[in-house]
């Protein structure tokens, strides 16, 4: 009973905070006055002056897309240079070396696409300079790009007979100044107060109370305590659905997520902005019900997933529950499947985290997913395979979901024999083609990528485990990249030239294909006139539509991935039941 209160509160608190934040973001993106405008308007104007942009100038969808591409390319170049040359640059007290070209390529793509897949270990392979001026910056930039594109799409619905869909430089600057930076500042100070490190010192060495004698007879007397400017990066990696940990074991690591309170803060931050954007969407199209409908569809899937994972983890696997000498009850302990989970988080806080992150395309973990029970692992996989639209990444989750909504009105329109329309705009073949492209980008990236990789004979050698679980690890790796999530079934050594390249390509497809498609839809919709609502218009804010939308999402997800899931987690589940 005590545990269900935790689940309810984690979800409830996030929703309660997301509603006002959504109204605030909606105002900011329209350039309306908010409570910190007095301080920030001069900064904003200053940036426009340096960029020499007129903030009232509108961009066409092509120009908007081109600007996004250039921001990403410049980010990529700076990042890959930092990663490869960090060995000869300052702020490197541990003397780490530059990364190999393929690992640097993979990491740079991973961070500019808001994926944060990590084939490296932060504390032993990256310098402080790379972490803060490379990765922290991209955590902000890639998140801001996603939200900008979402608002360009929203303007597409609102505007009539116009070419422009907003100005990327303006959208981008506003999100960072008004939303991401202020939230990150508050969150990082709170995290430090709990014990997250924030410094530029070299690593501490402490003496072990009980020295460890190794098998070869040598004795280890000291332990290393890694340091660094961690809190400032952890705040934005949670808020911007990035997820790339400062340390190798991400938010399971006690110096990255020390207490139940820091965990609560980091957990709320995962879904806060993606959720609030649903409400911002409703506000800015001047029909709050539409935002609530989209929000409800996402929430229903989220809660179902949470239920499945919570049930399976609390009941543990046969390896633990069949052993009559092990106590897996929740009596003065968390109980359940504690392998790969931290004592301070137990089952509830670990499970909620895993569901939130895989729904939100936030690649952070606070427990090791590789050790989850088969059906839990499958649910997490599926949440990503649905295209990261159950809240999803900041901005991209919602614009992906709107792609599905367009698909749904089209299918529903076919069934009743009417011209489909959504939010007062006629949906025609062009919008349809683009939506299909956006919705299928994730399945294509995952299935094509893993299909090619499965042909490599040496592939099985890189996995920690055996049997059907090995296939789950393999599938997870491509799912995480192809859905721009970035979390891992970590029992894999993915730092090989082949995997670094192919995973990076999956990330690029999954990020930019939907992004371009949705911008094209925005441009096309903005040119159209509004059509009046009649009795024959399909309502897109009632229960029927929510149900249809969920149905379409599950249909595409399940049809694309059922065969692959059958070989991995389902086979694994059946093998322990036989």
């Amino acid at each position: 009973m005590g545990n269900s209160i935790q689940y309810i509160l984690y979800v409830g608190i996030t929703v309660i905070l997301a509603i006002p934040l959504g109204m605030y973001i909606g105002k900011v993106m329209n350039g309306e006055k908010v409570f910190i405008s007095k301080i920030l308007v001069p900064c904003e104007k200053g940036i426009y002056r340096i960029l020499k942009v007129n903030h009232e100038e509108e961009m066409t969808c092509k120009k908007y897309a081109a600007s996004v591409v250039w921001v990403s390319i410049i980010s990529f170049v700076i990042l890959i240079v930092l990663l490869m040359l960090q060995g000869v640059m300052p702020l490197n007290p541990e003397g780490v070396k530059g990364l190999s070209w393929d690992l640097a390529f993979n990491t740079a793509i991973s961070f500019i696409t808001n994926t944060n897949w990590q084939s490296y270990m932060g504390e032993s392979q990256l310098s402080y300079l790379t972490q803060m001026m490379g990765l922290t910056v991209q955590n902000f930039v890639s998140a801001a790009v996603g939200i900008s594109v979402l608002f360009a799409l929203i303007r597409g619905f609102v505007k009539t007979k116009q070419d422009g869909i907003g100005n990327l430089w303006v959208d981008f600057t506003r999100i960072i100044l008004y939303v991401l930076l202020p939230l990150s500042i508050v969150l990082s100070v709170l995290l430090v107060s709990q014990g997250v490190v924030q410094n530029f010192s070299s690593y501490e060495k402490v003496s072990l109370v009980e020295p460890i004698t190794q098998q070869d007879g040598s004795v280890i007397t000291e332990q290393i305590v890694p340091e660094g400017p961690a809190a400032s990066q952890i705040a934005i990696k949670q808020l911007g659905t990035n997820g790339g940990g400062f340390f190798g074991t991400n938010s399971a690591f006690p110096l990255e997520n020390p207490t139940a309170f820091s965990n609560l803060l980091e957990m709320i931050s995962i879904l806060l902005i993606p959720m609030s954007l649903c409400f911002a969407f409703g506000r800015n199209i001047k029909d709050k019900k539409q935002g609530i409908a989209i929000f409800s569809a996402m929430m229903i899937v989220l809660v179902l997933a949470l239920g499945v994972v919570a049930y399976n983890e609390q009941n543990a696997t046969t390896g633990l529950s069949n052993n009559s000498s092990v106590d897996v009850s929740a009596n003065h302990q968390a109980g359940g499947n504690m392998e790969g989970k931290e004592a301070r988080f137990g089952i509830s806080s670990s499970v909620t985290w895993s569901v939130f992150t895989t729904a939100a395309s936030n690649g952070s973990v606070n427990s090791m997913l590789d050790s989850y029970t088969p059906l839990s692992g499958m649910t997490l996989l599926l949440l990503m395979q649905l295209g990261e639209v159950i809240f999803g990444g900041v901005g991209c989750g919602l614009y992906g979901m709107l792609g599905f909504a367009i698909l749904t009105v089209f299918i529903a329109g076919l069934m009743v024999g009417r011209t489909p329309e959504y939010l007062g705009k006629k949906i025609e073949p062009f919008e349809m083609k683009m939506s299909v492209l956006a919705c299928l980008a994730t399945p294509i990236a995952i299935l094509a990528g893993s299909g090619i990789a499965a042909l490599i004979p040496s592939m099985p050698e890189i996995f920690r485990n055996s049997g059907a679980h090995k296939f789950s690890e393999f599938l997870y790796m491509f799912t995480s990249s192809g859905a721009n999530n970035g979390s891992a079934f970590a029992g894999v050594n993915s730092d090989t030239i082949f995997l670094n390249i192919i995973l990076a390509l999956c990330m690029l497809v999954a990020r930019f294909l939907p992004l371009f498609a949705m911008l094209a839809i925005a441009g096309s919709l903005a040119k159209k006139k509004k059509i009046a609502t009649t009795a024959g218009t399909l309502t897109t804010s009632n229960g029927m539509f929510i149900f249809l939308l969920i149905f379409v999402i599950l249909l595409i997800g399940a049809l694309s991935f059922f065969p692959a899931l059958a070989l991995g987690p389902i086979a694994e589940y059946l093998s322990i039941r036989m």
Binding site: S207, A260, R344, S371, H469
Partner: protein, 201 residues
């Protein structure tokens, strides 16, 4: 061509501005605030007594002696870090093991028999699950309240002190759920052991 050049220029300047703002000014500001207000916590929560650093209260150490409270199962990793003389430093990693495998079931059996034989006097029949599993970070500093209580008799016998004394120390270093709801009740293993050794109160 002119527009391409213009867009490229603006993109470059924008990314540079953001690098200075989010990659330099912001982390420096947070570091400043942290070092002034939370200096111990911002530097790794090191437990230092009379100039000797006994550990970080947030990073687990391995204990195997009968007189100490044991923590989560650890996969000690000595490959990643070493000091100036090339001597290995202790670090640890998660297992990432498949929990449905036979390998895992056998490991659990092994751990159970080891812990049962080390704790013959305990009146609890079953071993709390976090004593036979490894953690998410590999360096979990805590165990559940049940897992700590399981070991009281052993520690009391090995040290020749009363179980009440051990119980009191464990209770002192138990952190309850945040506002009574979030997370779990956990015991900090290193702090209990330092208190048992009389190094901290």
């Amino acid at each position: 061509m002119k527009t391409v050049k213009e867009t490229l220029q603006r993109a470059t300047i924008l990314v540079i501005i953001m690098t200075v703002l989010c990659g330099l000014a912001y982390p420096l500001m947070i570091t400043g605030i942290s070092q002034v207000f939370y200096s111990n916590k911002a530097n790794g929560s090191i437990i230092e007594v009379d100039g000797k650093k006994y550990g970080s209260e947030l990073l687990g150490q391995q204990f195997t002696g009968d007189e100490y409270l044991w923590g989560r199962i650890m996969n000690i990793n000595t490959q990643v870090f070493s000091d100036k003389n090339g001597d290995a430093l202790m670090y640890a990693s998660p297992s990432n093991i498949n929990t449905t495998s036979e390998e895992f079931a056998n490991l659990v059996d092994e751990r159970v028999s080891k812990i049962k034989s080390a704790n013959p006097d305990t009146d609890t029949e079953e071993v709390p699950v976090d004593l036979v599993t490894s953690s998410g970070s590999g360096l979990d500093p805590q165990i559940s309240y049940a897992a700590a209580n399981y070991q009281i008799e052993r520690i009391a016998v090995a040290r020749g002190i009363s179980t009440t004394q051990v119980q009191n120390i464990i209770d002192k270093y138990t952190t309850n759920r945040f506002v009574g709801v979030f997370g779990e009740n956990v015991v900090n293993v290193l702090k209990v052991n330092l208190a048992l050794d009389g190094i901290i109160d």
